[in-house]
Symmetry: C2
Subunit: 399 residues, 2 copies
């Protein structure tokens, strides 16, 4: 891929916007210092963002005798961004200002019998309208809507190519939404959304090589390589959940056997618990969330079965994370999504111990393993960040 | 990582040099057409390369009535590049002209009792001097020497951090060579060398996302992501040989168990054969090369044990390659190094069949699986290419 000066310009625009979001109020001179870009470049990029209304001038800073320096900030009235996290069990919509501060959110539960595309689309539309109403944001103020759906996504086409937990194949989700919603829509999956959220707002900030491991019903990894999202040839990269951990092991719903997901996805962790204690009261056969929550409570209470089920699950997860460390040599591995959120520090401690036994010394020493530190829902945040990136990337290509 | 206009300039210089090498004789206008760069940019970059002596003007092309167009080519007298492939069983040195055409080569065997750093260094020095003498190239014409050693390498420090098959730890190889050799020296490993060779001269040309799988005594992967080598945080990426295929499986010399390398490295393949037929005449316990060669001959002759040993080895390898396809979503997976060379098409056919069963549909459809098509030794070629890249990257930063 030949990089053009336009690519550089877009990357610099992202960098400037990231620093202004992080700094709240800042001068162009400070942004130049933070980014290493020239003052002229920063002034030029800031000019574009002011013109678009994403930034505002907010006063002057005394520069010690010289001409006072203009201060800039993200314009809270510059429009809104919407992030939609469609998961197996819920639809969660958040409305953000251009600094990615949450203005309002709505969540609707998805029942197990609501797996058909039109049912999911109806939930997306109603929760999105509800969230915009709560934020007091009319449609014309929406800069863009990012939608994350599980599984493999054709981003350009706006198609959910394959969502294994729902058995979706080639569902034209963007088209279905666009029929009722005249807004810029961007489709991607939670692996990519979490990775971009970490890159802009989390443990990935300022990092070149990052692996964000999503632990939910399904599992997967989002990668940042060389400071940019790694998508692969068909936006399918990161299917770590469907790499082999135990040759000829447990059957996986992908059709293969012994996949990482079969051991460390929520149903896999439930199976680990069932193998140890088939009659455990922690098991809620029809409710993954209740089971993982009961397991977390058991661990906190020192219940030996819970502690053992955690150790067993962390053994699988630690080996699979050591594999990632050996293979891609990241600076940081972030454990994200709801299973990591519920099992938290005890899971992290066990995983670190197993990975330390299994990874090679040099890549291990370089890899921080951490829990996701983003407040709120990183998938919605990441989906909205995609919408912001598209806004920024589009500057200059408009009429 | 913020990319600068200097990075772009270096990347464009690589691109222009690659196209001129591939085209033999070409005009600036043609290079502009091939690369998509502007004529002015190409003229500027070509000017620098002419000044450095890497290119020469070779005449004029009629432009159909207009001013004749100057033709350029790589300057065969522009200096020499040296690529050194240090493997467990040999040191192979090749001397190249700036178009990476081989001028001379020397190979010295490394006996199993010659694993100490000073022994290996002595072989590198003697074969390098021998190869330069054969090429008729005095030291002052050497533009740079790339050295590939197995294991983990600190490229900046020129240190072999860990070479498991020799039990090397923190061997300052560049310093040891520099004590006897006053030439620009660049150290890296065969994973990186094979990947850069494929990127410049093989199946990776013009591709963004490539996995080059090295099958030798050790195994590993070299990655190209977004058109550039992926090194990771500490130049350790690609330790695919030390990712888990069979949890708690065969012991691996890295200290872990069930690693890919324990099943598909040459000793692993020998073990697969031994498991099937402990007394097979194909087994040469002290000679990996002889065993793999005997296996290849057995396969060609339709020997049922050989065919079964291939199928078993390809089952492990195919699953491990399916894992790579699911994880990084490459456009092409290249099977490289001597085991892939000896087992060739029969191995490729089996691996393709297994990967097709195990990989997810979308990334599988995008991934071509192929044998290394580079004539000669891709590791020496890649090592010399590193030296060329350093030459090109250094333009303009000199006095």
């Amino acid at each position: 891929m030949r990089r053009t000066s336009r690519d550089i310009r877009v990357a610099n625009r992202f960098e400037v916007m990231r620093h202004i979001i992080a700094s709240a109020t800042v001068s162009r001179q400070q942004v130049a210092g933070l980014t290493g870009l020239s003052f002229a470049t920063v002034a030029n990029l800031v000019g574009e963002l002011l013109e678009l209304g994403l930034l505002v001038e907010v006063g002057y800073q005394d520069s010690g005798g010289g001409r006072p320096r203009g201060l800039i900030a993200v314009n809270p009235a510059g429009g809104v961004l919407v992030g939609v996290d469609v998961a197996e069990t819920y639809v969660h919509v958040e409305v953000f200002d251009p600094a990615l501060t949450v203005l309002a959110s709505v969540e609707e539960a998805l029942h197990p019998d609501e797996a058909r595309p039109e049912q999911v689309v109806a939930h997306i539309l109603s929760s999105l309208r509800g969230a915009l109403a709560r934020a007091g944001a009319p449609h014309e103020r929406v800069l863009g809507v990012g939608v994350s759906v599980p599984g493999q996504v054709d981003r350009e086409g706006g198609v959910s190519v394959f969502a294994p937990n729902w058995d979706w194949h080639d569902v034209p989700l963007r088209g279905m939404l666009a029929a009722s919603l005249d807004l810029p829509l961007y489709l991607d999956n939670p692996l990519r959304a979490c990775a971009v959220a970490e890159l802009w707002f989390g443990a990935g900030r300022g990092r070149d090589d990052v692996a964000v491991v999503n632990l939910g019903t399904g599992v997967g990894a989002g990668f940042v390589f060389g400071g940019a999202l790694h998508r692969g040839a068909t936006n399918s990269a990161g299917e770590w959940g469907h790499t082999t951990l135990v040759l000829d092991g447990r059957p996986c719903h992908c059709g293969s056997r012994g996949c990482v997901e079969a051991y460390v996805g929520a149903p896999g962790i439930m199976q680990n618990l069932r193998d140890l204690a088939p009659d455990s009261a922690m098991l809620h056969p029809q409710d993954q969330t209740a089971t993982i929550r009961a397991l977390a409570e058991g661990i906190a209470a020192g219940d030996p079965v819970a502690v053992k089920a955690l150790a067993e699950s962390a053994r699988y997860l630690g080996v699979a994370i050591a594999d990632l460390i050996n293979l891609v040599n990241p600076e940081v591995v972030v454990l994200s999504s709801w299973v990591a959120g519920l099992l938290g520090e005890p899971l992290l401690a066990e995983v670190r111990a197993v990975a330390a036994e299994r990874a090679l010394t040099r890549p291990l020493a370089a890899a921080e393993i951490t829990l996701c530190g983003i407040a709120g829902n990183p998938v919605s945040l990441g989906a909205a960040t995609f919408a912001l990136e598209q806004c920024l990337a589009g500057i200059g290509s408009r009429a």
